[in-house]
């Protein structure tokens, strides 16, 4: 009884677990239950039950409600789909002037908006693409095909790669200095020599449109939310869901709304990249000390001046993190949106992965990663740039970068011209090295993979078999064995114990949505993979983070490593694991673990760092040894921050699990991928995406509530 009084929380948790397990044992698996695979779910089976709602027919296998809830929300995807279709094709038809046919045409307004947006995006992408690679679409856009036929020389020739490389290096030099310039130059030369020029420039043109637009929209909406509580309230739930929504899932509705191609990819990238930008903008603006704002106003700033010269620069740190996020998401999406027809490196990467050509995939992946790192560093350097007011510079000194660029421009053109004589009859390597005509190390890597496979096949296979048969399969079976009611009780109980009624209700709502959707089983499989990934990631992350924290240098080094790894597009992680483990769940899980270890490590180091120095000294003076200090002081205080790391780890893991569907898993991701090629897939894709987002949000809610309480308790809020 004393224990009960001493640790009331502990007993409440024990009680919850006892109830949970009791329910698990009490409710038997129905004899008819099986985890349905593949297409079977869409086959009309006479054993299925049927109900109608809003005119939609929903078919499902009925079980005892304690075991699995009926899919009462089964009509939702169909309904979303029909609504989208209605909006696009029938809603509010209006007359629009058609330039080509010179007459009015009746079109639904949304379709017209979508077409105009599409045309605009296409124009932007084409413009940049043609400056980099040459073409004539931009000129056609301003004139007509007849005009081009009359003046065929008008076609943009595209810049020789030497000029672009020199330009990138000079710009980097201006922004940051020699180091970055060298990196930029080498990156460009690498891309060119390895014959990835064209796809790289296609990807780059896509990014150069998507990233600035996302930045502007994110910043603008962030400012709007900062200024108006109402806007913030309206945006917040959308932002939350979008933060945890897997990127795959948004692709499908985009297909319906904007069709296939680079333009759709840009729009969908913006949808994914804008939310973090908004959140970070709000965060940054809110953190500005009120006196700084007052100082700005007392200096006589107008509202615009206050925003542009005081608020945004002062919130620069968070806004920069936002830019960083935008760039990361853009590159990530550059690959993923290849599914909806974006050209460039991503497409090559997917193709290579599909053909299991690891070498080619590696080269494309490296290109994407290098460009990502380069752009990231350049944007950072740009934001940190200082003006020098005191230099009495000569004309040459002031304009040396422009002069150098002009010089390299001329030299580049001369080289390209000379090249036409040197490489007569073959490709002009000084102008552009065509795709797959450069050096390629693909064979080397492929042979390497083969060698690894031949040499270690037995061990890899043994490990793989052991992991799948002895760990993963039983774990999956256990997860699927949970009766729906037991899971609900566990989730809601945890919500209640952590955050009271409010949390319990939120968690109950989110869980019920998933339970009442037709994909509860799939969600459980997703959850099992994510759990496995998160547990291992956290173990590795906490250990590595703690070890690195013991020394300032190694901590800084590790954070740097995390930065670089975070810049890699998520898809790139699949390359090396497929190299080793081929197409199995193991591959996906290892990718998940590698990817999700990043936030776990980062937050561990940051959490430990945030422990006040005064406490260290107090502890040292109390005569603790290193281990005691770690376990008694640093861990308890850093733990709330580390929990936020777990939160991020869960989101990262879920993302990767869903992306892993590309390799072939049986979770929600598999269905999202399938919805991509289904003409009625939009509703399904969106609903599945929401399901995944809700899994993330359940944990997000629980962890955040706990962290807030804990921080308040520790007085470090």
């Amino acid at each position: 009884m004393d224990y009960l009084k001493k640790y009331p929380k502990l007993f409440q948790w024990l009680f919850l677990l006892v109830v949970f397990f009791a329910l698990c044992f009490a409710i038997d698996v129905p004899e008819t239950y099986k985890f349905i695979r593949g297409q079977a779910e869409f086959v009309k089976d006479p054993n299925q039950s049927v109900y109608f709602f809003l005119g939609k027919e929903v078919r499902y296998y009925a079980f005892d409600v304690f075991w699995r809830l009926p899919p009462l929300l089964g009509w939702l995807p169909i309904w979303i789909n029909d609504s989208l279709f209605f909006l696009m094709n029938e809603w509010m038809p209006m007359e629009f002037w058609n330039e080509d046919t010179q007459e009015f045409k009746t079109r639904p307004i949304l379709l017209q908006i979508s077409r105009n947006l599409t045309a605009f995006m296409t124009f932007l992408i084409e413009l940049i693409r043609e400056i980099l690679l040459g073409g004539l679409e931009t000129i056609v856009a301003f004139t007509s095909w007849d005009f081009i036929d009359a003046y065929p020389w008008l076609e943009l020739p595209g810049l020789p790669w030497t000029i672009v490389a020199a330009g990138a290096a000079i710009l980097s030099y201006k922004l940051s200095g020699k180091g970055l310039a060298l990196f930029a130059g080498l990156t460009m030369i690498y891309i060119s020599i390895f014959g990835q020029w064209k796809p790289s420039m296609q990807t780059l043109s896509f990014i150069l449109v998507a990233a600035p637009l996302s930045f502007i929209f994110g910043l603008g909406l962030g400012i709007a939310a900062y200024k108006s509580k109402r806007v913030e309230k309206a945006l917040y739930p959308i932002l939350l869901v979008m933060q945890t929504m897997p990127q795959y899932a948004v692709l499908v509705p985009a297909l319906v709304l904007f069709g296939v191609g680079d333009h759709a990819a840009v729009i969908i990238t913006m949808v994914v990249a804008v939310p973090p930008m908004i959140l970070l903008t709000i965060l940054g603006l809110r953190a500005i000390p009120p006196e700084v704002i007052e100082a700005g106003r007392m200096s006589g700033c107008t509202n615009w001046q206050l925003m542009l010269k005081v608020l945004i620069p002062t919130a620069r740190r968070d806004i920069l993190i936002g830019v960083n996020q935008v760039i990361m998401v853009c590159f990530s999406m550059a690959v993923i949106s290849a599914f909806i027809g974006a050209k460039g490196l991503g497409f090559n990467l997917l193709l290579a992965l599909n053909q299991l050509n690891i070498g080619l995939a590696l080269e494309a992946g490296l290109c994407i990663s290098l460009i990502a790192i380069l752009l990231d560093k350049m944007s950072l350097a740009w934001a940190n740039k200082q003006t020098d007011y005191f230099g009495n510079l000569t004309f040459f000194q002031r304009n040396k970068n422009v002069i150098f660029f002009a010089a390299s421009f001329v030299i580049g053109i001369i080289l390209a011209y000379v090249g036409t004589f040197i490489f007569k009859g073959s490709f002009n390597y000084l102008f552009e090295i065509p795709h797959n005509k450069g050096i390629s190390t693909a064979d080397f890597w492929n042979k390497g993979v083969d060698w690894i496979f031949d040499t270690f096949f037995v061990y890899i296979k043994a490990f793989n078999t052991w992991l799948i048969q002895d760990v993963l399969q039983p774990m999956r079976a256990l997860y699927l064995r949970m009766p729906a009611v037991a899971t609900l009780v566990l989730a809601v109980g945890a919500g209640y114990l952590i955050g009271g009624i409010r949390s319990a209700l939120v968690v109950a709502g989110l869980t019920l949505f998933i339970a009442l959707s037709p994909w509860w089983d799939r969600a459980l499989v997703t959850l099992y993979m994510a759990t496995f990934g998160v547990v291992i990631s956290c173990l590795i992350g906490f250990t590595v983070g703690t070890l690195c924290f013991q020394n300032k240098k190694s901590a800084a080094f590790m954070l740097g490593v995390c930065d670089i790894f975070q810049t890699f597009p998520s898809f790139v992680y699949l390359i090396p694991v497929m190299m080793l483990f081929g197409i199995t769940d193991t591959s996906v899980l290892i990718a998940v673990i590698v990817y999700a270890t990043i936030p776990a490590t980062r937050y561990t180091i940051e959490g430990l760092r945030s422990v006040p120095v005064g406490l260290h000294e107090a502890a040292t003076m109390s005569g603790v040894n290193k281990l005691q200090r770690l376990t008694k002081i640093e861990f308890p205080l850093a733990f709330p921050h580390m929990m936020l790391g777990i939160n991020q780890t869960i989101v990262f893991a879920l993302f990767m699990v869903i992306i892993g569907a590309f390799i072939g898993t049986e979770d929600l991701g598999q269905y999202i991928l399938k919805a991509l090629s289904d003409k009625n897939g939009a509703g399904i894709g969106l609903t599945l995406g929401i399901c995944v987002a809700f899994i993330g949000l359940i944990f997000d809610n629980l962890i955040r509530t706990w962290v807030e309480k804990r921080k308040k308790h520790l007085g470090i809020a």
Binding site: E291, A295, R297, M298, S299, G300, Y389
Partner: protein, 343 residues
């Protein structure tokens, strides 16, 4: 008295949702307690005063007394709930946004407790900021800012970032920034409160030196009574939004208006605050000694001279006319006796 620069007529600032309505209903009889029960917090309660050109008014009060709120009403960083504020005869509350910005750009400067420097700008850029906002050419604004850098003694650090400076240096930048546009009215919101005692004293002396040179009209906020005594021409003591007393330092020490003010004055070393004129005898006296003291001398500085005299000491003004007299025993009385009597 010379020209009035700032004039407040029963200014109220009440925070809360229907503050305005409640103020109207109260008929100028605002009681903080009843307001609080209805969810409103009284920041400034019926403040009326004037500040003359070149005068330094120090507003003294503990935290939460409404002194910063009062300052923010006068700089219109917040809008007063009721009352009238005139800046050089202009009704501040009537100004539209554009006129207000113009007023701030040409006439007002403000210094903040937490310095409020822009973290992304260097010292010289921070100082040039108000000028650049006004649209001054970059070169001119930088030149002017460099003058200000010299004025506050930060030469050689003009390209430092705020984070690279100590607190005292940061506040020098804040002061320089507020002076860059050559304002007539200078608001200082606890400018030295965040500084170490030694640095604080140094900055106060520096501030007095600057003021002697510049002769601005100043509203200075502080919670430090000694600081108020040292700097002020007149002091306003605030409590719970109400100005308890507004008077010269000497009068506040000699005649505290309320019990609250008296508590502050109890520990004050009078000889450091009062001048001879405050304690002298103005009735004519023939039995004067040879020693003459100026009426503006602070007692501490001449006490020793007077105390060694046996005869009554003559008090003269700057033109050497005798305006009064002082007995040595009066000095002893002032320094030691005053506290018990509370006079």
């Amino acid at each position: 008295m010379s020209e009035t620069v700032i004039k407040c007529e029963s200014v109220y600032k009440i925070f809360g949702e229907n503050a305005k309505k409640m103020l109207e209903e109260s008929n100028g009889n605002v009681d903080a307690k009843t307001f609080q029960e209805k969810g409103c917090i009284v920041g400034v309660n019926n403040a009326s005063f004037e500040v003359a050109k070149g005068e330094m008014l120090v507003v003294m009060g503990l935290s939460g007394s409404g002194k910063s709120t009062l300052l923010r009403c006068i700089s219109r960083l917040t809008d007063a709930t009721g009352g009238k504020i005139f800046i050089e005869g202009q009704d501040l509350l009537e100004l539209n946004n554009k006129e207000l910005i113009e007023l701030r750009r040409s006439k007002m400067g403000m210094v903040f407790q937490s310095f409020a420097l822009l973290p992304h700008k260097t010292v010289v850029e921070n100082i040039a900021f108000p000028l650049q906002i006004k649209g001054t050419k970059t070169e001119d604004s930088i030149n002017r800012a460099m003058e200000m850098v010299k004025l506050v003694g930060l030469d050689g650090r003009e390209n430092y970032f705020p984070r690279e400076l100590s607190g005292g240096q940061q506040q020098r930048v804040g002061i320089a920034r507020s002076l860059a546009v050559e304002p007539d009215i200078w608001f200082l919101d606890e400018p030295f409160s965040a500084l170490d005692p030694l640095i604080r004293k140094e900055m106060q002396d520096e501030f007095l030196r600057l003021q002697e040179k510049l002769q601005k009209t100043i509203m200075f906020i502080t919670h430090d009574f000694d600081e108020a005594l040292k700097l002020a021409d007149r002091i306003a003591i605030m409590k719970d939004g109400i100005i308890e007393q507004l008077d010269t330092p000497a009068n506040i020490v000699l005649n505290p208006a309320t019990e609250y003010v008296r508590k502050f004055t109890e520990e004050v070393p009078r000889e450091k605050v009062l001048v001879i004129e405050d304690v002298m005898d103005t009735t004519s006296n023939d039995n004067l000694g040879d020693l003459k003291v100026l009426k503006d001398e602070i007692i501490e500085n001449v006490a020793e001279k007077i105390l060694t005299q046996e005869k009554i000491v003559a008090v003269v003004d700057s033109e050497n006319n005798i305006v009064g007299s002082i007995k040595p025993s009066k000095i002893i009385d002032t320094v030691f006796g005053g506290r018990k009597n509370g006079s």
